[in-house]
Symmetry: C2
Subunit: 342 residues, 2 copies
Amino acid sequence: MMSTIQDVAKHAGISIATVSRALNNPDKVSTETRERVMEAVRQLEYYPNEKAKLLSSKTKEISVGIIIPYISSYYFGELYKGISRTAKAQNVRIVLHELHDESGEQSLMDALTFCKQQGVSGILLSSQFVEKDYDLAISRLKLPVVLVLAHHESAMLPAFKIDDIKASFDAVSYLVTRGHKRIGIISGSLSNPVVGEPRYIGAKNAIDFYQLPFHDKQLVSGGIRFEDGYKAMNELLAARDITGITAVFTATDELAFGAMKRVRDAGLRVPEDISVIGFDNLSISGMFSPGLTTVSQPFADIGVEGVNHLIQAIKNPAEMKPGTYYLPYNIVERESVAQTSD
Amino acid sequence: MMSTIQDVAKHAGISIATVSRALNNPDKVSTETRERVMEAVRQLEYYPNEKAKLLSSKTKEISVGIIIPYISSYYFGELYKGISRTAKAQNVRIVLHELHDESGEQSLMDALTFCKQQGVSGILLSSQFVEKDYDLAISRLKLPVVLVLAHHESAMLPAFKIDDIKASFDAVSYLVTRGHKRIGIISGSLSNPVVGEPRYIGAKNAIDFYQLPFHDKQLVSGGIRFEDGYKAMNELLAARDITGITAVFTATDELAFGAMKRVRDAGLRVPEDISVIGFDNLSISGMFSPGLTTVSQPFADIGVEGVNHLIQAIKNPAEMKPGTYYLPYNIVERESVAQTSD
């Protein structure tokens, strides 16, 4: 015979309302109550199925779609931690969708369609490629869409991120305060609207602001992965006779890891010969030797804020407020930048 | 007006059966067909909802639960890549559940209950703590459960992993072939049934097999994270006057990263002063300087094999075959182990 919620309440010696709260909003009951309920649930083998729950509860259960480029990105775990903690506390289910082809417009359209088909009530989107062209497709979805670690050309959607231009300016300023004057830039592709262009602009603005020398060969643009950083540093080192660089700003931590490896493979040292500052503060950045000095993005907080905004917008469409919301960042000092008097 | 699959077929100029195949088994149609269908889907705003799909399709859609300790573990992305690729190709949905408290029995029970409540047809479980005590709870679930990167004391469940004892034996043998005779071991907790005990046993077996000296102070056991590796190497270095170690085997790559950082912070070099061999081959292991020589676990393949077995067992319970399935591993040689004549 199937157990009912009444049976669970009786077995645990508490009210049905409390059992319901323990099952649906576990954060709203004490640990002791929760454990008593779960114990009763186990002993009685009580499994409320989804449909029964949907019918019996007054508020329909919400699910949200999360679309991200690569689940194996090193930042994803951090971002997801914030999202899942918040979603769980509000009894919101997550449908995860990975864009296997980061550059594909097609792929993003398919992902939106997939989420819609899964019956989600809203979508949290972390693709870097949300251009004006998508406005029509997104409005046709008739679902709230919130961006995290991304922005939207026509600013039609709420977007949660840090101010990439300002943070890159600050990273280069940090190198300047440590005495560096000849600074290389390893940027992502300048057509990449989050990691590429704005981080290059911020870094270049700083070089202009401090009236530092800047030669063509101080900039290498391309991908944002480890291998790209390795190759880019190779080019910067080859031009060092001309440029005389003593420090490098990289648009991502992965680029920095590649750049540091190349420095070492060339028989040089970080930071004694070349200082490196990164951008992201991935959890692995402190594990390297030397530890990477870098701009720290609040990945978990971005996840929390993004999903909170989405849930509010699902519950009350008037809460959907387009615009870019900048979260605070800081520079984490480790060992990859040396003081120089050069 | 809502579009129907007939409308989509007409618009794309292909049969309803082909449209259905393109939507449900996209890997079974050509890229061109798929694109034509998706283009029609977008233009007509065709969104088959889940319920309609369930009612109309003859085979019920399957969803599987994935329970993992920490989504932010560095191996998770790799494992998930294998799982999602396989699940997607077979039109299987994934419900993800993170065990926030790795050591908690309670937490695993809750996770199993959560997945059951979500209406999944089977569960892929990656917790390291699947003990005999769970046999009753798991059998009560009345769902197939398959383990990945874990094993089960009473061998009641199918488990996909590598042979940890053999792989650890091979890692220490590798150090021996490079001339090392005094070898330290940084192991996980000896009560950890996957990462801890078996990897210690394998390493110690090799030390005994080659009749190498072994002092108490050559072994440090504890956690499996970066910080644990750092602290453990500190202890090994402090006892170096007594033990004379020239190389260290660590039970995880994260332990190795911590150990390498400690060596460097002590003013020593890897591999010139201390060689290090790890276990996992995380995707970041090649980014370090020096690159980490390590046992390579086939994370993606373990995901593929595990979820394939689970899907087969869901479709036909006779296909549920308990036992431990060992996948092949190899040692990836990078730069963290030196040849020595000592």
